[in-house]
């Protein structure tokens, strides 16, 4: 029975990875939720927007690396982020102009937007594969670990090590900064307030002289930033593959909906709920329990609640359970 070792094992295999993954999901879900809140539709192309923005970041990173530029112990990709965001923003604004604006002017029903976003999803998906191909790409450089398992053991004298990869630390730090900036923008600036007003009541906002097209443009710009950052962080932490990003759409939607569509706070909560549920339920707890319980009670099996392949299924089971009891999510989202 060694509670400290149990805690460290749990932190190493569940707490740290789930926090990083939760931060990535939260950033993705924030984008989905903003589009739902302001443009009033579920954007099925969001996963592929992330993939496209990340592709631009990767290409820029390679360019920088070829030119001999590096960011010291930090990954070069962080330097390339602004370029990626700019490219994604250009793509999103172009899409809005040629696709969505027409339906906005026509006051089309929300489901038309959703179906249009399916078309956009196909196009982005093809575009990303066109540019970078369907294969796995690694673009992380810089220091690999903030603390390696061996250093941690030497420092503390425990049997179990705690490894924190630098990409995990960067993910959390960047996510905190981005979320703080976003909430500052939404709550304190004039533009942010007009966006919230537009989201709460479109007609009233129009009456008080808010320019809807400006709100829409700013929304897309923020979404481009959020999607590219989320995609890059995910790619740094795991790896980049267009198909994986398309699949990320599922947990991201789950996170946004569990939190309540249209609620930024809900998106963050949802991201962490989904990430922690996914990781905990599919992680074999044998080792942790082995340390935490007295020897006589030690489990024989792996104590894995569900096999790892059920990862995606877990996020949706949670989604369904939440929806059964709170039909518009934890933070009472909108429905159009």
């Amino acid at each position: 029975m060694e509670p400290l070792n149990a805690l460290v094992t749990f932190a190493n295999f569940v707490l740290v990875p789930a926090t990083a993954y939760g931060a990535q999901l939260a950033l993705g879900a924030l984008g989905v939720t903003l589009i739902y809140g302001i443009l009033r539709f579920s954007n099925f192309a969001h996963g592929d927007t992330m993939a496209f923005g990340t592709t631009a970041v990767i290409l820029t990173t390679w360019g920088l690396q070829a030119a001999g530029v590096s960011f010291g112990p930090l990954p070069t990709a962080l330097l390339a982020l602004p370029v990626g965001i700019a490219v994604a923003a250009a793509l999103l604004l172009f899409t809005d102009r040629v696709v969505y604006r027409f339906y906005r002017a026509k006051k089309a029903v929300p489901v038309t937007f959703v179906i249009a976003s399916l078309g956009v999803m196909f196009i982005y998906n093809g575009l990303t594969r066109f540019v970078i191909g369907p294969d796995d790409q690694r673009f992380a450089d810089g220091a690999r670990f903030l603390i390696s398992a061996r250093d941690f053991r030497e420092m503390t004298g425990l049997d179990e090590g705690l490894a924190i990869r630098s990409t995990q630390a960067i993910t959390v730090v960047v996510a905190v900064i981005v979320v703080a900036l976003l909430f500052w923008f939404l709550n304190k600036t004039r533009t942010g307030k007009s966006m919230r007003a537009y989201s709460d009541n479109e007609d009233l906002a129009l009456l008080s002289g808010i320019n809807p097209e400006r709100v829409v443009v700013i929304t897309w710009l923020i979404v481009a930033g959020l999607a590219t950052i989320a995609g890059t962080l995910y790619g740094l932490d795991k790896s980049f593959k267009p198909f994986t990003y398309f699949q990320l759409l599922l947990p991201i939607f789950a996170a946004a909906i569990v939190g309540g569509l249209g609620s930024p706070l809900g998106a963050i909560a949802g991201g962490f709920v989904i990430a922690f549920a996914e990781v905990t339920i599919t992680y074999p707890l044998k080792k942790v329990l082995g340390y935490a319980l007295p020897e006589t009670l030690e489990p024989d099996g792996l104590v894995q609640l569900l096999s790892t392949d059920y990862k995606f299924a877990v996020s949706f089971v949670i989604l369904l359970i939440v929806l059964l009891f709170r039909p518009t999510g934890l933070f009472a989202g909108k429905s159009v």
Binding site: Y36, F41, S42, V99, F102, P110, V111, T112, V114, I115, A116, L118, G119, V120, M121, F122, I123, Y124, N125, G126, L127, R129, F130, G133, P134, F246, L250, F253, A254, I257, L261, L305, S307, D309, Y310, F312, A313, S315, F316, V317, L319, L320, L323, L324, P327, T328, S335, V336
Partner: protein
């Protein structure tokens, strides 16, 4: 059928005949058979979306369940495996269902501490369920894991598996409808998307049921095998007498047999769907779709009708899934992905014309043909574009390689163009 519909269908016929002449009749028939299956899937989605306005993005799940139905009915049984753990597994499944029923009952009846007791019931139930299920599954999967390792099927003719596949999908749709149809707009869409993922996850991981990602191969056929035809002197003589190569002749014969079977089912369904749409029931469905509030005020039970049409449409998708698994001769849970089995079907319905059964069928054929042919057409176009470039240049290589990704792009562009310039599809609802 209107003039417009006749012309468009004639165009589709031309596409397939052209493919037969330019490429080969084998290719054309292969596309046609999947086109028939796609048309049935589109018909199912059209019932839900076109008649009733239900946004179901879980088509993939129902298609996969249909495939499972065909496998469970037609594969030879594995009595040894069932004896090893069949009872335990069945017991565990019943226990699982009872747990959920008990939880629902507790949620409805209890007044105090109901959240806590529901959680307690579910947690205890889950661990009992796993304790009962796991050894049973292990026992089944342990026997000849490489070749079988699952419970097998009933060993009945595969044609019986088709309606069973439809029934499985209908059952799942009933469960989903009961829980999710109360959700609003986009919440329903995402819930169905999630349920489809859950179904695929189960198919991929429960090896005892359908061999998971090891795939079920050799699903029996309703039509003869090519090799039997080639060994049949009567068939070979007739082919030679007609001036065909017996080997090619046998492959074409098999494909034609499938096409005939599928066509009969498609025409039957189309007739039923048309009759339903023209009946008072169809009028009621469209009235509900166009104005739910008004329909409810007229005394129509909107929730019940939604559930009904959701089940019907899903059953049709399941039937198509069973047919597809039979045509492929295998169930491959790893290959089901929403881009192909959900979103592409949606492109078919939207492009064809939602609310119009002929439109859905037309969309099924047209979009499927494009999905297959965009690649060779794109390669042709790209080699023309790059003709002027130096051989072995970086850009030329990249461009020619990229042709493989053209089909996604093309589907997106087509969907957006139709949605914008002909929002009601090629064959609008009348």
């Amino acid at each position: 059928m209107t003039m417009r519909a006749t012309l468009l269908f004639a165009f589709v016929v031309l596409l397939f005949v052209g493919t037969g002449i330019v490429q080969s009749w084998n290719v054309s028939l292969t596309i046609l058979n999947m086109g028939l299956v796609s048309a049935i899937m589109a018909l199912g989605v059209n019932m839900q979306w076109g008649y009733a306005g239900l946004f179901n993005v879980g088509v993939m799940g129902f298609v996969a369940l249909g495939g499972l139905g065909a496998v469970l009915v037609s594969m030879p049984p594995n009595p040894e495996h069932i004896a090893a753990g069949g009872l335990r597994v069945v017991g565990a499944l019943i226990l699982g269902a009872l747990t959920i029923a008990a939880a629902i009952f507790a949620w409805r009846r209890l007044k105090t501490a109901r959240g806590l007791s529901v959680v307690a019931i579910l947690v205890v139930g889950f661990f009992l369920y796993r304790a009962l299920l796991d050894p049973g599954v292990a026992a089944i999967e342990a026997i000849e894991a490489a070749s079988t390792g699952n419970i097998g099927g009933l060993g009945l003719p595969v044609l019986l598996g088709w309606p069973v596949g439809g029934l499985l999908a209908a059952g799942a749709a009933w469960l989903i409808g009961k829980t999710a149809l109360g959700l609003r707009s986009d919440y329903l869409a995402i819930a169905t998307l999630g349920i489809a993922e859950i179904i695929i996850a189960i198919l991929k991981n429960e090896d005892w049921l359908a061999r998971g990602v090891k795939n079920v191969i050799g699903v029996p056929r309703p039509v003869p095998y090519e090799i039997d035809l080639q060994n049949d002197p009567a068939f070979v003589d007739r082919m030679i007498a007609w001036g065909f190569d017996p080997v090619t002749g046998s492959t074409i014969f098999v494909k034609l047999a499938y096409a005939g079977l599928f066509l009969v089912i498609l025409l039957g369904l189309l007739w039923l769907a048309q009759a339903a749409l023209a009946s008072p029931w169809g009028r009621m469905m469209r009235a509900i779709r166009d104005n739910e509030v008004a329909a409810e005020a007229m005394g129509k039970d909107v929730t019940a009708r939604h559930l009904q049409v959701f089940i019907l449409g899903s059953a049709v998708c399941g039937l198509a899934g069973a047919m597809m698994t039979t045509l492929d001769g295998q169930l491959t849970p790893g290959t089901y992905q929403p881009l192909r089995y959900t979103f592409l079907i949606w492109v078919m319905v939207i492009v064809g014309g939602s609310g119009n059964n002929f439109g859905a069928v037309l969309g099924g054929f047209l979009v499927w043909w494009l999905w297959v042919q965009v690649e060779p057409l794109g390669a042709l176009a790209m080699s023309a574009i790059t003709a002027g470039m130096a051989d072995g240049s970086w850009l030329k290589g990249h461009l020619i390689e990229s042709v493989a990704h053209m089909r996604l792009l093309t589907m997106g562009v087509i969907l957006l163009l139709v949605l914008r310039f002909s929002p009601r599809g090629l064959l609008p609802e009348r």
